[in-house]
Amino acid sequence: MRPYLAQIRMSLRLMLRDRSVLFFSYLFPLSFFFIFAQTFDAGKSPAAMAQVIAMVVIIGVLGNGFFGAGMRTVLDRETNILRRFKVAPINAAPIIAASIVSGLVAFLPTVFLFLFFGNAMYHAPLPHSVLSFLFFVCIGVIAFRSFGMIIAAVVNSQQEAQILIQLLYLPMLFLSGATFPVSIMPIWLQNIAQFLPATYLFEGMQSIMIGGESIRANWFAVFALLITFAVAMFVSVKLFRWEKEEKISNRAKLWILAVLAPFFVMGVYQAKTQQNVERSRILTRNAMRNRATLYNSAKIIVGNGTVIPNGSVLVRNGKIAEVFQTPPSNPKSLNADIVESSGKTIIPGLIDMHIHIGAPGGVYEDQKRYMDPLAGDRRLAAYLYSGITAVRSTGDFLDSSLKLRKDINSGKYLGAELFTCGPLFTAEGGHPTELIKTFPQSMQQTAKEQFVRLPKSPDEARQQVDALKAAGVDCIKGVLEAGSAGWGLFNHLDPAIYAAVIQEAAKDNLPSATHTGNAADVKEAADAGTNSVEHGSTLDLIPQSTFAELKQKNIGYDPTLSVFEGTADMASGNVELLNRSLLQQVGPADLLSGTRALIEKSKKRPASEFAPMLEHSRQNLLAAYKTGLTLITGSDAGNMLVIHGPTVQHEMELWVKAGIPPAVALEAATYNAAKVLRMENRIGSIQKGRDATLVVLDGDPLQDITNTERISQVMFRGERISRSDLFDQENP
């Protein structure tokens, strides 16, 4: 132990006396720190600061390892210093250990300085787990120090060292993310980057700082770096040379490959799984969401009924940091990108409470298009493009909707947030089992498992609800539908079984939604205590007593006027809905053309046939409004002519035409919807602390509800969405 301690003590002393160490360990990285911090405008975004810190740490660690350890050792050999140690009764281990320890001691204070300046001067929060961060950086330093030692061990001269160091240093510097983000590189280059140890170091730091991950989430990188360290230590002690006259054979130089071996394995693994490429995409997403923005001087429709005629919204770290009742006197002092918004109106992101993400809302001519595995993601992108930032699936394949939800929530894919009920609870032979028969034979079994739940008893119903809770659904959907002549007749769910479904959901505070076909269904749903009535009734008018019960039990009312209009237009041959500008921007062209063609060649029924259905819906909505119910907006997108995209805008337009004030429609589409999702503390209104998810409009929707389609900008969780890029995203 004594030789180790003596050598370490000596290395530290020499380091303190060496001005070049001070320069390379402190002055150099710190100047880079400030230059990068200025360049990346790090004051406006903690993520940018995290990026800057990761960059300068990488630059420091690479320099520390390759030059501080590698080149230093080569120079000590060339100047006959190591020669003197050769005759002492020690091997290379104390010398290598001292080099690693002194490298660590030299570097760590710099890391503290980065964190300190980042915090003090650029308001960046400290990493969630400072210890994880420091520990990870330490592992990086010792791994790269030992890299340096192995380089020293396999080169025969200073010139060779220069070449080898540059060969390793430059790619690691440029491809690891230390100089520019990995996610902007072409995918093949991203894959190459996965073979470089520095990439893992960079991503680990990023994910600890931005992603709030701990060291455990990065065990893979830690493990690889530690293996590298162990192999490099072993090999460099073995191959250590004390004199420049001792040369090493070219074959022994291949040992450097052994040291890099863990990263060959990791690179191959990553090339296969794309795990890290995905991860860096998510980190970049988080970084985008971290920028600070001030929407200055706009009309603000808060969502909960209040309106700020001329105020400002400050967004920081993906959240609404402040809502100003009047524009701040010195907006620059807020350290945010300022978006001047005079004449614009800001509303919370719109919410569609009733969609079926698995269905297109029209027909394709090419049957294969129905099987497109990416259709769901694309539909969520279409919603986001249209300013609809959250949607609730009230009946879809369980696994695929959960996966979609994950794609969005992880940040891997950019689209509207998805809440999902998964499969629908209904009776054998009840709605929508008739749809399963229209699926290809091969899919029917899967559909039965994924799309519906057909409990035979209250007990089975409860078990099935519990299983869905365990799977992680956001809500439970029950169906009460007897159908009618002309639309089909269905088996109606047994009242006891239905009640069991609703009560079991309520037990864990999971919201339930109930499809209703007529006034009796609405009454049954109200009695069972569901959380929202979907559709209401098209067949009859709902009695006032039922509305009173809905009101008393605070049950949401979702009239879904859109789906009835769509059904009517489809049957009567009206293609007007396909001509809407925003829909044409987001709808797949072949879906629009296929649907148009089908309608145009179908036999047309007179529109008057559908007038009673539409009239019942409108009357029921008006009555619900007058009773003071919690109204929510759902479109039932996925059904004919209700195509995923600007659905909520059209639903609101139908409401206003039916006599609902625009302000009420907007509240239904934002705050009320969030309340029924039980997410009102996070989304649905423009208040301090909520998600910074909002839509900037070029006109005032209170004047004209169709102004909700005149979108100037969409912000989703703090990111100013580049709407035109939404459809060019890499596949999730």
Partner: protein, 309 residues
């Protein structure tokens, strides 16, 4: 192997691939003896020494250093010997006393470092940075490091190479002091006078073999056995008129015939004869010299090459 033997080598061989660097060396260095190893570059000196120091494995032969086999008991050997390599350096910013402390930590045996510093006249320099030292001071530091473990056997590899004559003289003084401690010392050197001055015995190595071994004087006598006598006269000598018995000796003439050099195993008698003859020739004796052969002469005689080329 007796206790009075510090180094014992029998039939040592070392090959690097096809090249045989050491081809059967035998030597013994006694305790307290100063032993010199002389030879031109590439003779096998360094290889031999490095085998003894435990830095290099041998191909065959028996080697014992302080009773240990340096190829097997490497640590024990290194722990007990002191080595002063040629042309080593320390980091520029290391202080003299720090260097001693550092190397002290590597060994099991320790010495009084203050005494060591004062003995090597480094006390005033103990806080000086290595880079500020003169060449002689650096060499004294190297010697101090070699002595930090109180070694009973000291290897000095070209201890004065590259130093100016005055410093060399100084180092010689130190080495002579060291031999008084009853330490065994093995010196390799290019300087003949160094070997003549410091060594009890020397071995001359050439092409991987010892070609001569003994005390410097013994070797001189054994190899050449002749002393050079040089006479200078006022007028040129007529060497063809040398008496019969003198003409058998090797001689040469220079200086327009005014200087005659002649070798003899009996120089005193030769001088008498020469002076007599000069007198007979009516010449006046201007100068007379007697020159013993040096190790260098021996070396050239034995190997046909000079030590430093």
């Amino acid at each position: 192997m007796t206790n009075s033997t510090a180094i014992s080598v029998e039939d040592l061989h070392k090959s690097y691939g096809d090249f045989e660097a050491v081809r059967g060396i035998d030597l013994q260095v006694g305790t307290g003896e100063v032993f010199g190893l002389l030879g031109p570059n590439g003779a096998g000196k360094t290889t031999t020494i490095e085998i003894l120091e435990g830095l290099r494995p041998r191909s065959s032969g028996r080697v014992s250093v302080l009773g240990f086999d340096p190829a097997v008991q490497t640590r024990q050997v290194k722990n007990r010997i002191g080595v002063c390599l040629q042309a080593t350096n320390l980091p520029d910013k290391m202080k003299v006393h720090e260097a001693l402390d550092l190397f002290d930590a590597f060994y099991d045996r320790h010495t009084d470092k203050d005494k060591l510093l004062s003995r090597l006249q480094l006390t005033e320099k103990k806080d000086a940075l290595y880079k500020t030292l003169s060449g002689g001071q650096k060499q004294r530091v190297a010697l101090a490091l070699a002595l930090v473990n109180e070694p009973s056997l000291l290897f000095l590899d070209e201890p004065t190479t590259g130093l100016d004559p005055q410093v060399r003289h100084e180092i010689h003084g130190l080495i002579q002091e060291l031999r008084e401690d009853h330490r065994s010392i093995l010196i390799t050197t290019h300087y003949i006078e160094e070997a003549e001055r410091l060594c009890d015995r020397v071995a001359i190595i050439d092409a991987g073999k010892i070609i001569e071994l003994g005390s410097p004087r013994e070797i001189q006598q054994r190899v050449l056995g002749h002393t050079l006598v040089e006479v200078t006269t006022n007028e040129p000598m007529q060497v063809e008129r040398l008496p019969e018995k003198l003409r058998d000796e090797k001689y040469s003439v220079c200086d327009d015939g005014r200087t005659l050099s002649m070798q003899s195993s009996e120089p005193a008698a030769l001088i008498v004869e020469l002076v007599k003859w000069i007198d007979q020739e009516n010449l006046r004796l201007v100068d007379i010299h007697m020159k013993r052969p040096t190790l260098e002469d021996v070396f050239i005689e034995l190997t046909g090459k000079r030590l430093r080329e």
